[in-house]
């Protein structure tokens, strides 16, 4: 178990996640987390469409597998790798829900942000190692400006 594992979130990726979460409010926003140089650096957040049905979007998100497939191919052409996913919880805390947990792919990074109408309040990261395994919180450090 890698309980205290640390991931660096690049400023550009963080800005994109926040922007998308606010833009999609009151619906859930979602997307992919990409990296090129290190599998512990989240360099880019690439937005995907929330394909949940109409009103369900406020409390649920779904990425179309075919859109994911197309995004993956594009991403890989540019030399990036998918290392995880982000989504927002409008007016809710940045904690994993039962549905989030059930759909987690082992080894992938999951970032959740808590968002209200005009602010993103909290950002947390989660992983699990095996399908039936326990979820653990990972440390997400914002990239510091040196």
């Amino acid at each position: 178990m890698k309980m205290n594992e640390e991931f660096i979130l690049f400023n550009e990726a963080y800005r994109e996640i926040k922007h998308r979460a606010l833009m999609q409010y009151p619906n859930e926003a979602c997307g992919l987390l990409l990296s090129r140089w290190s599998d512990h650096a989240i360099e880019i957040a690439s937005v995907a469409d929330n394909k949940a049905d109409g009103e369900e979007k406020a409390g649920y998100f779904k990425i179309d597998p075919i859109q994911l497939y197309e995004m993956e191919r594009e991403i890989e052409e540019k030399g990036y790798e998918v290392i995880g996913f982000f989504h927002s919880h409008p007016d809710k805390q940045a904690v994993l829900s039962y549905a989030d947990n059930k759909n987690m792919i082992p080894g992938m990074v999951y970032i959740i942000v808590s968002v209200t109408e005009d602010t993103v309040h909290d950002l947390r990261g989660y992983m699990k190692d095996t399908p039936e395994g326990d979820v653990y919180e990972i440390r997400i450090e914002e990239e510091s400006i040196l």
Partner: protein, 485 residues
């Protein structure tokens, strides 16, 4: 043909993006992949062999995930896509609606009383109003109930209904801290009501001095927001779980035994129920109840406090909680762990094809092995008075004590031979088949198990059970012993 493996799943396929597969159906593709990459099996299928919810199989843009499409022939030049379904949902809302919250107001004394909640960003005025609007049923005013009732009253839960049929006994005072010596022989619900009134007179306290059964439970819990199970037996647990599922009321479950406790949340928004976690109770008599097996005093305080904390989080709608999980606390070695509880699609109560359609149609006594009349008809027993008379008359009988050594240290039964249940079959030849043999334990349940064990092993001599066990025999004084048993 080629199979494209999504980047998100490649760790389980040797990091390959494309795998060349010899197969002509989706089933053949999956078999090939699992054969080639055994690690991938656990990511494609769950423990019961069903394809995982987050795995999708596409041929072109056609979804072929459903297993009824797996035997169709697919042309060799097609590409099969193995993709993840990335999805998730928001954490649960408060179980108290905004409309109900808005109907609540506070006076100055309440602002002062609940100040420490109001200071917390996640609770605040809105959360405290939800707490006040909440209507909670607590089943059992015993050990767990003591902590739950007092903390929920102190936290300001507006309506608290407590259900218990029992009276306060001296032996309860070791861990049922809501009752005091002055409450002995009073109904537990009356004692609990007095304590709650002393905490906060404005709480609506409803005392239900009754034993929960399939006739009354639906009426008792209907219209409430949450049920907290603080009972100490399987029959009540299954009954409460089932009734909560039928009434769509979430359930905070708690249980203790010796040094260990469990807490879980069931029936929340269609999540798993107690039966998904525990499809059937253990055979009657095998696992002693808390009252038979004992429990360290603060344990129900710890477990009950966690139940109360979970209840408040559900009411306020904050934090992570034990929905679909079971927290196990070992207070002796200070270990805790959380076990994931999956919803069981074959659950007879909440699965896809339920067979339990109502609490009144289900035989809980039979399910929990509590059909005393049947068992007692099959197994002959002595009442404490009958056994006492045979001892007084100095009849030739054998008395076998099946209790554990530490139980015998509390109360020794004179002239009994000691055989733990696990050794009975091996030591069967120590019994005289021409003589009446009487089995004793604390409450008369394990002794039934002992007799059944011997019968199954082929023992043919006369076997009897002490009805009600030594607990029922406590008040009998033997003239030749001159002592309490």
């Amino acid at each position: 043909m080629n199979v494209y493996i999504s980047a998100t799943l490649r760790n389980f396929f040797g990091r390959n993006a494309k795998v060349s597969v010899t197969a002509s159906t989706v089933r053949g593709v999956l078999d090939f992949l699992i054969d080639e990459y055994p690690e991938s099996k656990k990511i494609i299928f769950d423990e019961s062999g069903e394809i995982r919810d987050f795995i999708k199989i596409y041929i072109g843009d056609e979804d072929n995930t459903s297993s009824d499409k797996w035997d169709r022939a697919i042309p060799q030049d097609t590409e099969v896509l193995l993709l993840p379904a990335i999805a998730g949902g928001a954490p649960n809302d408060s179980i108290i609606s905004d409309e109900r919250r808005k109907e609540v107001s506070f006076d100055d004394s309440e602002v002062e009383r609940f100040g420490k909640h109001l200071l917390l960003r996640e609770i605040g005025v809105k959360g405290q109003k939800r707490i006040k609007a909440a209507k909670v049923v607590i089943a059992g005013a015993g050990a767990l109930g003591s902590a739950v009732i007092q903390y929920l009253a102190a936290a300001g839960v507006g309506t608290i209904k407590v259900v218990d049929f029992d009276e306060v006994f001296l032996e309860n005072l070791q861990n049922q801290v809501i009752h005091t010596t002055r409450d002995l022989k009073r109904p537990k619900v009356a004692s609990a009501r007095d304590t709650v009134r002393n905490i906060n007179r404005s709480i609506i306290f409803e005392a239900e001095n009754a034993r929960l059964d399939s006739e009354n439970i639906i009426d008792i819990i209907s219209g409430y927001d949450l049920v907290i199970d603080c009972t100490d037996n399987y029959k009540a647990r299954y009954l409460i779980n089932d009734a909560c599922a039928f009434c769509a009321i979430p359930l905070v479950f708690g249980a203790i035994y010796q040094y260990e406790g469990q807490v879980g949340i069931f029936n929340l928004n269609g999540g798993p129920c107690y039966r998904c976690a525990f499809p059937a109770p253990p055979p009657a008599g095998l696992v002693p109840t808390c009252s038979e097996g004992g429990a360290i005093s603060p344990l129900p305080g710890i477990i009950g406090s966690i139940q109360a904390n979970e209840a408040l989080k559900l009411i306020i709608g904050i934090g992570e909680h034990l929905d679909g999980k079971l927290l196990v606390v070992d207070s002796l070695y200070l270990h805790t762990r959380i076990i994931n509880i999956e919803k069981d699609s074959k659950c007879p109560l909440c699965g896809e094809h339920p067979t339990i359609t109502g609490v009144q149609e289900f035989d809980y006594d039979d399910f929990c092995g509590l059909k005393e009349n049947q068992e007692e008809a099959a197994i002959e027993g002595f009442t404490p008075e009958e056994l006492a008379k045979r001892i007084e008359d100095q009849d030739s009988i054998t008395i076998v004590d099946v209790r554990e050594p530490h139980e015998r240290a509390i109360l020794r039964f004179p002239n009994a031979i000691v055989i733990p249940i696990g050794q009975l079959v091996r030591r069967m030849n120590e019994l005289n088949p021409d003589q009446d043999t009487i089995f004793i334990c604390k409450q008369g349940q394990r002794s039934i198990l002992a007799i059944n064990t011997l019968r199954e092993a082929g023992y043919t001599g006369p076997l009897y059970n002490l009805k009600g066990g030594l607990d029922a025999m406590k008040d009998i004084v033997f003239s030749h012993e001159g002592a309490w048993l």
